[in-house]
């Protein structure tokens, strides 16, 4: 017995001393111009193709460093020039000419030409099934190269928001690139040095047309588990952990060597009601469900307070969102009255579907079910695994926990509110809404356009099938000294080329 204990001790000491050796070769701190960035990523979906679904965040961050995009998102959230220096629509707002920078080159030395841009846009459109029809508003067959540095993009209908619709995900690759088993050259601020099982190493490219990044090297690592991502920063193995869970953010609070970057209103898990099926075809039932929600409590439980209660607006951060609405607060008595009026006063039973795809979706559904109980509705919560939720529940069931990720209102409308959309999940089918939306998007005056879009958004809020109870913040954990991380919504978060380090 004693021998065994001695042996165990020897083994442990041996392991510890070996580790010490390992440490000296390993933990050389990163030089001050290297950013170690850890983000969401699954090796199973890792891809070199910047025109697909962009579902793997670690890939998307790499693309945003390697490739130029036509237009980008400014710090104020407005569209700003990137590869396109300027743009001009024709009178009908269907033909937009984009003037490209003349000093952009791919990493292999070739200049970036209009033909490369048109080729890339057409390729994105060809992969519509994977990227949710991102360029569905455009007729790319009719679009054309005007000259080497001018491309004309044609929209199917008059469309005043074309520069914004082309923002941040129009990654430009050399014309003819079709084999993406390995990375193809890009014209962005960084070039790829190596890309292995977990990490991509990128180095600053001298001669990029834009403001030279202060970072020389960026290491992007894919780590699937949110807790593990946070641990990477907590233990000093990384400088930034993108998209951590609220619980980990709480854990890091009070540590002076760390800071938390909050990207407001990034995530929402609205409860989705099918307006063409019982019992949700009755507007009074929908109204009752909206009045049953205790919004602050849902935000507290789901996002641990890292978020804001919302008022059923689907794009509350959009510049067109209506302002000064009377907030919809919880009113159990009124909700019960609506149910009684709708003939559902003596006990309504529904099934509320949810999943664990995004952290907190299950918590939100469970809590809402208990809130519904108080207006006399029995909601049975049914869990579906993440791998089949979006194919068997999303867009099909009558009542479920949905997901939106901070996209502009016109995108929400295109995906979910137009009669002809295959993903119109609430069956919001109103020809007059479609017509009004078309008219608004073709309105050249921004003030007028936003006013009309705001009215439309308010109409969905009041009569539609979404209970948008709150939004969660995107949470990035950084070591102190990391500055300039993007805080904008949508794809703007991917552009980390101007991040600075002070140590």
């Amino acid at each position: 017995m004693r021998t065994r204990i001695t042996l165990t001790l020897v083994a442990l000491l041996g392991a510890a001393s070996l580790t010490a050796c390992g440490d000296s070769e390993q933990a050389t701190a990163a030089p001050p111009d290297t950013l170690r960035y850890v983000t969401v990523g699954s090796p199973a979906t890792a891809s070199n193709d910047p025109h697909g679904g962009l579902g793997n965040e670690s890939d998307a961050v790499r693309f945003a460093l390697m490739y130029d995009v036509l237009t980008g998102q400014g710090p104020d959230g407005r569209t700003q020039p990137r590869l396109a220096e300027s743009w001009k629509p024709d009178r009908s707002l269907t033909k937009w000419q984009f003037a490209l920078r003349r000093d952009a080159t791919f990493s292999d030395g070739r200049p970036v030409r209009a033909a490369d841009v048109l080729y890339s846009l057409r390729r994105i459109d060809r992969k519509a099934a994977e990227n949710y029809g991102r360029l569905a508003a455009f007729d790319l067959a009719a679009s054309r190269v005007v000259d080497d540095h001018t491309v004309e993009v044609v929209s199917r209908k008059p469309f005043a928001e074309v520069p914004r619709a082309l923002e941040s995900m129009t990654f430009i690759v050399p014309e003819g690139s079709d084999d993406f088993t390995a990375a193809v050259p890009g014209s962005g601020p960084f070039t790829l040095v190596s890309n292995d099982a977990q990490s991509a190493v990128l180095e600053r490219r001298d001669g990029w047309w834009g403001t030279a990044p202060s970072l020389r090297r960026i290491e992007v690592r894919a780590v699937a588990d949110p807790q593990a991502r946070a641990q990477a920063v907590l233990s000093g193995q990384a400088d930034v952990a993108a998209s951590i869970a609220p619980a980990a953010a709480r854990q890091a609070e009070g540590r002076t060597d760390l800071s938390l970057v909050r990207r407001p209103a990034v995530t929402m898990y609205p409860f989705v009601m099918r307006t063409d099926r019982k019992p949700f075809d009755d507007p009074r039932v929908r109204e009752a469900f909206k009045l049953a929600a205790d919004r602050p409590a849902l935000v507290q439980a789901t996002f641990l307070g890292y978020g804001q209660p919302q008022d059923d607006l689907l794009a509350p951060a959009d510049p067109s969102a209506p302002q000064g609405l009377t907030p919809r607060t919880r009113d159990v008595a009124k909700a019960r009255q609506f149910l009684t009026d709708a003939g559902q006063g003596d006990g309504l039973t529904v099934t509320l579907h949810t999943t664990t795809s995004y952290p907190g979706m299950d918590t939100a559904a469970t809590l809402f079910a208990s809130q519904l109980k108080e207006i006399g509705v029995t909601a049975e919560v049914k869990m579906t695994p993440p791998d089949t939720y979006f194919t068997t529940v999303w867009g099909q069931q009558d009542f479920y926990t949905g997901y939106f990720g901070g996209i502009p209102f016109f995108d929400v409308a295109r995906v979910s509110l137009i009669s002809g959309s295959p993903t119109n999940e609430t069956a919001w089918k109103r020809p007059e809404f479609d017509a009004a939306l078309d008219k608004a998007l073709g309105e050249p005056d921004e003030g007028v356009r936003n006013r009309v879009l705001g009215t439309l958004q308010q109409q969905v809020r009041d009569e539609g099938g979404y209970v948008v109870w709150g939004t969660g913040d995107g949470l990035d954990l950084t070591r102190s000294g990391v500055q300039g991380l993007p805080t904008g919504a949508g794809f703007g978060r991917l552009f980390i080329d101007q991040v600075r380090l002070s140590r």
């Binding site: 065994r4 050796c21 891809s47 193709d49 099934a129 990490s199 690592r221 780590v223 699937a224 979006f390």
Partner: protein, 308 residues
């Protein structure tokens, strides 16, 4: 005998490939649906299935996959379009390093635990109890406990195991916690299987006789007990190694370690059949080879062979 073992190994591999294929097939949904997350129209789905060959009958897809494998072609990922050999090849070294390190720790630990646990003294019974308890603890719990102690309280090792960004092999500090998380339950399980055997051998007359003659314990272990343990220990090891390789999936995800296990978990969720098949076959080959080696050693060390 050797021929029979070989045939059995091949049959086993074929069986595994059919079962894994059927199991992935039985899951609801396919790669085209996973890739489009509910947003594609029926026509778009049909087009994607035709492009990736997913529209063919199950048996046909299986046979094509098997024929490809025999030609040395593991196919193309249904999700990213990259060659499966590349996808797996990028991840294999990390998992091989982790599983290898875990086995290196497992073997001596398993023997060190089996010996006193089989000896039957009061102390031995205590060891047996501890070993049985450890064997029953899932890797997740072991990993969490090890992280709390060695990364949290003592701060000897990092709490997660990121691979070096420039492709260098992982250092020992990176491997330490995942290795122990795999090795401790595996060694305990192996020791539990071996314990009874040790008890049997120790009870044999010539061992008792050697004890009476006052030979030292290490000599009894090395000369009178050890040789009879080699073959069964190898067989136990093959089984333990199988469990250990399967457990890498859980441990890799927990430590953010970029190996095959993490890849497999994601590939199953995305119904990426060629990647799942290749990963499962690799694990199966490793286990079958281990068992084959155990069989061969049994043949060589079988006392009956010396007699005939």
């Amino acid at each position: 005998m050797i021929l029979r073992a070989l045939v059995r190994a091949v049959l086993l591999l074929v069986g595994v490939s059919v079962m894994v294929f059927a199991a992935t097939e039985a899951l609801p949904g396919d790669a085209a649906e996973a890739r489009t997350a509910g947003r594609a129209t029926a026509a778009q789905l049909a087009e994607m299935r035709a492009a990736t060959g997913l529209d063919a009958a199950v048996w046909r897809r299986y046979l094509e996959w098997a024929a490809g494998l025999l030609r040395g072609d593991a196919g193309v990922s249904l999700i990213s379009g990259r060659p499966v050999a590349d996808v797996i090849g990028q991840r294999l070294p990390a998992t091989a390093a982790l599983a290898g390190a875990a086995l290196l720790v497992t073997v001596p630990l398993m023997l060190a635990w089996a010996w006193p646990a089989g000896a039957g003294s009061p102390a031995g019974r205590l060891v047996a109890a501890v070993v049985t308890a450890t064997a029953a603890v899932p890797q997740v719990v072991v990993a969490a406990a090890l992280t709390a102690v060695f990364a949290g309280m003592l701060a000897w090792f990092p709490p997660i195991s990121l691979l070096p960004a420039d492709g260098r092999p992982p250092g020992l500090s990176v491997l330490a916690l995942p290795t122990l998380s795999l090795a401790l339950p595996a060694a305990a399980y192996g020791a539990m299987l071996l314990r009874g055997l040790v008890a049997d051998i120790v009870a044999r007359p010539y061992v008792r006789d050697a004890r009476r003659r006052g030979l030292p314990g290490w000599r009894i272990a090395a000369v009178y007990v050890g040789p009879f343990l080699v073959a069964p220990a190898l067989r136990v090891l093959a089984v333990v190694a199988g469990g250990l390789i399967a457990a890498t999936a859980v441990v890799e995800v927990m430590f953010g370690y970029a190996g095959l296990g993490e890849l497999l978990v994601g590939a199953v969720a995305n119904r990426d059949v060629p990647v799942v098949q290749a990963g499962a076959m690799l694990a199966a080959v490793a286990v079958v080879l281990g068992m084959l080696a155990a069989d061969l050693v049994t043949v060589r060390t079988d006392p009956r062979r010396a007699m005939t």
